[in-house]
């Protein structure tokens, strides 16, 4: 394992020292290299063209049409986009996605950090604890949805039983919009804590112990050492997790599909559900494609932010 683990992401120099040896046969060699390169990259390029670039271009094309999935397409120009602007459900889905992101990202990151800080300390069975926190990450969204469907059941669910047994009012997790929304956040947080923990654990390992030793001489221990050393030095990790969690929060689908079906009403309908519903239930494929285009630009903008940042860090 040593080779990967100790490597850095820095680029190897373009021209290796051994390159001079090939000097005389450079022209021939270059052609052979290009052939080998295209040959090896070929399968990936074919797959990407057929199943990524063509569909991406077609998404834009479809978004300018009315199309039911079979038969003829009717050219509409920008009509789909103008309809979207008038579409209350679209705005509700966008708002839901935004609110979901604003709530779930900080909660997930705080819990991931908490778990990492705790399980970074020496304690018995630490490896087991870490593994157990990570277990929900490997459970499929559908299975998670089913597990929590039962837990959140307003009548028979154990959650309401527990709440009433300790004197709390029971909650209608399925009929009440805000409660249903909260239930989605609870489930996806449950799924995501392990991931946040692992990324933060890695970040914590990157902080040199000398920092803590030096700081403790200055009296910075406990909260102070967290406030002035750990937290600032985890900055890049936190930033990465924030951007990454925002992007994934735009893609939450499986849990919602099983747990709430976007309801009650449209209270848990996110952009991806709305696009799916328009495309494959309502058969408004042109309209769904237009939603897809909007989603694409949102995610692209977020990806660029992350990219810029990770580039800067690689240089530093």
């Amino acid at each position: 394992m040593a080779t990967v683990q100790t490597r850095s992401d820095r680029q190897a120099p373009e021209r290796p020292p051994g390159a001079q040896l090939r000097g005389r046969v450079r022209a021939v060699g270059r052609r052979a290299e290009a052939t080998a390169g295209l040959l090896l990259a070929g399968p990936a390029l074919v797959v990407f063209i057929i199943f990524m670039f063509v569909p991406l271009a077609l998404t834009f094309w479809y978004s300018l049409h009315r199309y039911s999935g079979f038969g003829r397409m009717t050219y509409l120009g920008s009509q789909n986009y103008r309809d979207i602007i008038q579409d209350a459900t679209f705005w509700k889905a966008l708002l839901n996605t935004g609110v979901y992101t604003a709530l779930s990202v900080p909660i997930g990151i705080a819990l991931g950090l908490g778990a990492a800080l705790l399980l970074n300390k020496v304690m018995p069975a630490r490896t087991l604890f870490r593994a157990l926190v990570y277990v929900p990450v490997v459970v499929s969204g559908v299975a998670s949805g089913i597990i929590f469907l039962r837990l959140f059941d307003p009548l028979l669910g154990v959650l309401n039983q527990i709440m009433s047994s300790v004197g709390l009012p029971t909650v209608d997790w399925q009929g009440n919009g805000s409660a249903a929304f909260a239930s989605v956040i609870i489930v996806t947080t449950w799924q995501g804590v392990g991931f946040g923990m692992v990324v933060y654990l890695a970040g914590l390992q990157g902080i040199p112990r000398e920092m803590y030793e030096a700081a403790s001489l200055d009296g910075a221990v406990g909260w102070k050492s967290f406030r002035y050393i750990t937290w600032p030095l985890l900055g890049p990790t936190t930033f990465f997790l924030v951007v990454f969690s925002i992007i994934t929060s735009f893609q939450v689908f499986d849990v919602v599909y099983v747990l709430t079906r976007g309801g009650p009403g449209t209270s848990t309908t996110f952009l991806v559900q709305y696009a799916y519903d328009q495309g494959f239930n309502q058969r408004h494929q042109g309209y769904a494609a237009a939603i897809g285009v909007i989603l694409y630009f949102i995610v692209l903008a977020l990806t660029i932010v992350q990219w810029r940042f990770s580039r800067r860090r690689d240089v530093a």
């Binding site: 390169g37 479809y62 926190v133 929900p136 299975a143 089913i146 990465f240 799916y276 694409y296 692209l300």
Partner: protein
Amino acid sequence: MSASAAAVAELAEGPHDQPQSERPAQSRRVVMVRVALAVAGVALLMFPMYWMLRISVASTSELANLPVRLWPQEWLWKNYIEPWSQYPFARWLWNSVVIAGLSVVLTVLINLCAGYAFAKLRFPGRNLLFLLILSTLMVPVQVIMVPQFQIVVDLHLLNSTGGVVLPRLAEAFGLFMARQFFMAIPDELLDAAKCDGAGHIRAFWRIAVPLSKPLIAVLVIFTFMWRWNEFVWPLIVLTDPNSYTLPVGLQFLIGQFSTNFGPLLAMSFLSILPMLIVFGFFQRYFVEGVARTGIK
């Protein structure tokens, strides 16, 4: 990304002590408090898993009798047995195995080759192509699913293994990982082979591939996990109940069992069991892979 990369290196090397914890003045009581916190947190996180197992052996009548006891009062093993004959569960399991297995093999092959080409070989359009591919890293499947579905229909791949597997091979994650990995292999190693008369492809096969076991391990595990758990794309492509994968089959069972949660949770557990076993064995790689790439 690279900060977490270097960091995880150490993480994976084993449970050595962390900086803060080596301060000598660590009293027993502090450790006890931490363990208690960890136990409480893990218990909270594991409760839904426990509840799945507990409900999976319960009858409808036991579940209707409130409050439901924390420990099973009866063990209804038929919840685990009967759905196999009532529904094509074995078929779904097999479909999932085939789809995940095939996806793993193809993903590893394609990405090893392409990752090496993008890292070590110069060919026309290389940088532009890589940028284009990388820019799709975070594109949700919902963005392209409408035309992608049409393409699958046109290629006569509806309800087929290929229809699920092939479109998902166009995923930038594996290629990105592979390229990063091969960039770290010194050119001198490969040039030595070339001096001995080996061509580029032979140098790749003889030198680079044998070195890439850790890369292969991470690709295998992540591809397996994602394809095993994948839902929305199989849901679109697989319309015939016999061609379902486990997650699609499970969501179909929700409607079938409605309030009879025992067998539903039994089947849910069985559907995630293979994944849990894989996780148990390769836990280290999961943790390492996530943190190293920092990408889902």
